[in-house]
Subunit: 259 residues, 4 copies
């Protein structure tokens, strides 16, 4: 039965035109440069995103609307400039859920995706580490780790993170993958999607949409929260859903075939 | 007399070059894809817009300037990225008032407009439903439903919504319909118009400018407020006024004729 | 001596290549369309700008940093989308100080400038009137009229308004007039200049930079403040200074000559 | 040994392809125009940045999240429009750390860099002076001078400023220097980097990233703080690190050679 399952999975991957990639990819200098950009970009994103949570926590000890605006702008505008700065080198994913979406759409090979996701996760850890090194223990709290609001159900938190990630991936496909979209300004609407996702999601789940953003501060501060796995599963589902929908429904047939 | 009225209306529609459209439109795959984009785009807009009202209501229980900024940014930046993401597929209306404006300008047939408005209204309902499913009853209030400030007259509320919608439609025509406008960045000024309309209108009418945004949470939460019809009539008037003005006064004769 | 002064002024205008313009200008349909765009654009700018002051005054009765952010975003983002929407029709001045700057740079004739300034002033009055009609007397205060902080000297207020206007005009010339600038995104940095000018100037002078924005609510509410003339003189000086500096120092000789 | 050190430094500069520049540069009109743009741009940046600290200090006497948002937007959006306005004239550095980064990348000669840095420092001083002249003594505090939070170690402050500057320079290279980046919108992500750096750094170090911004108000108000040199050294290190990394790792070999 295990063999049977594997055969079925390979058939499905084949049907979806997911490519394994060739191992020579890992010997290409350009691939490692792209991985480096993902590492640095995610490091800076986690440093700045978590840093805004810690910094504003010094000013307003509980969450307020003003603090929410600061945190949302920090995460979202950081995506605008970091995805803008690394876009030409690596595509500027900076998020395992984004890389997964590209795999599902047949636009990234599994091997390269593995390299990217590894770089993003290590980037997230080092981003949190640098933040720890910059801030005194009395101020740093859990380094901006995510946790689910205790007043909401796990299923509600899961649906919230799934939808927020769906928003992000849908926008990335509409403005950057789809060649008919407003390509040149793409980092701006993508960053704005992250701003608004935070304005909605922070009081419920912290608004992750990005396992590397959730994992880095959790492992460095030890604050994994009550439902850490949710920050991997819900973005994964949301990204898969948005990517498959956009590819099979909205991408022009010619472009989808190109993938 | 009913016949007489109908003849007069048809004559007027003919004079305005409003097209009925051909029923074969409804058999085109592209039309349904556009309707799907309007459905998903409006769903996400209502989820995020109403979501920001609910989320910030958890932090600051009454309306404050900080909460106003969060709500305004959520609605406006969402229009930037959702209109940007669906623009190439459906035109990114996401609002029955916008579709009406295109009909009045002779740039959308009545049949296609009906398809769009239906998709937007259903999108708004599902957006509010998903928000309900994500949030505990104790926190969700009226799901961000609009209501008129009890201290202002109905006529003042009507004029406010009319002007705010006029602003939105005037900007859409100036930056996106008019070919002389700054086309490539268009989703940014259009989203900014929604931000500013909220900064002005929220304390008076909630700043709808969009019947789908008003109707979705009202039907799901049951909170239709005291003057729900105003959120259909005032945006309708404002959109018609701005569209007709831009078409007959500002569009270049050649382009207006093309419509 | 009056004759002598007039001769001197005409000589100076001639030296600066300021053009009187031909009266047939006033018979051109395009000129009146441009004047109409200036009227509507300034009307909406004053409605939204003053509206944000009134609306946030309902929420936070005294000025707070959060309210300042809301007011600054409302004025600045409104300039982005209104200048963006009217740019192709009239140039999107929406401000007598901007029109003056173009006259000083020899890029607008005196006759057309008069038409523009008149349209802007009437636009400002009607913007304040519409705001009055939308808002109950108990809430509308002075309709967002400007006044100088009683703790600062008139000379300090004058210098503040002069510098804030200098910033605006310098940016307009750098990003929109100078052909080497980032033309296509120009309405965004110009709007951002208005945002930041407000973040600095509101607690001192209200941050006008625009006589039409100051005059409209003052005449409608009767609240001319203690130093209304300052809102004409200081922007006038600041605009003249920035325009002359940019033209004679920074514009490429070829382009300056073209003016 | 002094001679030996000098020989070693020259060798290193040669290896890095840093160019001394030719003295005839200083006789070129274009160079002085560029220096003038750096002077005015930095003057206005310091006036507006420090001005936002002073202005919001009148409203909220201690630092709050709302005030942080105002200060961050003021500094960051000012960089967007001032770098946008001076970009075609001088490159829009407005910051000695940015000029240093260009020297390290071999894209600016030492002589021209000296001219720029001098202009920026004088610009910063005059920006602070104009702010002093506009504001009453009772309100102006230390004119927005930077100081390190007494609860954090000097090494933490140093690392914080180094990383914040690294972010800024990395983004400048990714979006403006690298020809594959999103050139036309570059001033927007660069300004956003300054916004987010402030949202993170203000409660710790004030978020300078720019010695001219730190030096101007310090010399005018006399408030050099406890660790003024940090505001020169840390941005210097951060800029050097980001520039060298981007040049040797991410710039395409052909483009790096061009430098
Ligand atoms: Ca493929
Ligand atoms: Ca038609
Ligand atoms: Ca001329
Ligand atoms: Ca060189």
């Amino acid at each position: 039965p295990a063999l049977h399952t594997m055969v079925k999975m390979v058939t499905m991957l084949n049907f979806m035109k997911v490519e394994l990639g060739e191992t020579k990819t890992l010997r290409s200098k350009e691939q490692w440069r792209a991985a480096g950009a993902e590492f640095i970009g995610t490091l800076l994103f986690v440093f700045l995103g978590c840093g805004s949570v810690v910094a504003t926590g010094i000013l307003d000890s509980k969450m307020t609307a003003a603090r929410l605006v600061a945190i949302a702008l920090a995460h979202g505008l950081a995506i605008t400039f970091l995805a803008g700065a690394t876009g030409a080198i690596s595509g500027g994913h900076l998020n395992p859920a984004v890389t997964l979406a590209f795999v599902v759409a047949g636009k990234e090979s599994l091997l390269r995706a593995g390299l990217y996701v590894g770089s993003q996760i290590f980037g997230g850890i080092f981003g949190a580490l640098f933040l720890k090194w910059c801030t005194p223990e009395s101020m740093r709290g859990t380094l901006g780790s995510h946790d689910v609001n205790p007043l909401i159900y796990g299923s509600q938190a899961f649906l919230m993170e799934l939808i927020l990630t769906f928003v992000l991936i849908f926008v990335i496909f509409g403005v950057a993958v789809d060649r008919r979209g407003p390509g040149v300004i793409a980092p701006i609407p993508i960053g704005f999607a992250v701003v608004v996702d935070h304005l909605v999601g922070v009081p419920f789940t912290g608004a992750s949409m990005n396992p590397a953003r959730s994992f880095g501060p959790a492992i460095v501060s030890g604050a994994f929260g009550t439902q850490h796995l949710l920050y991997w599963a819900a973005p994964g589902f949301g990204a898969t859903l948005a990517s498959a929908l956009y590819r099979y429904v909205f991408l022009e047939p010619a472009e989808a075939a190109l993938a």
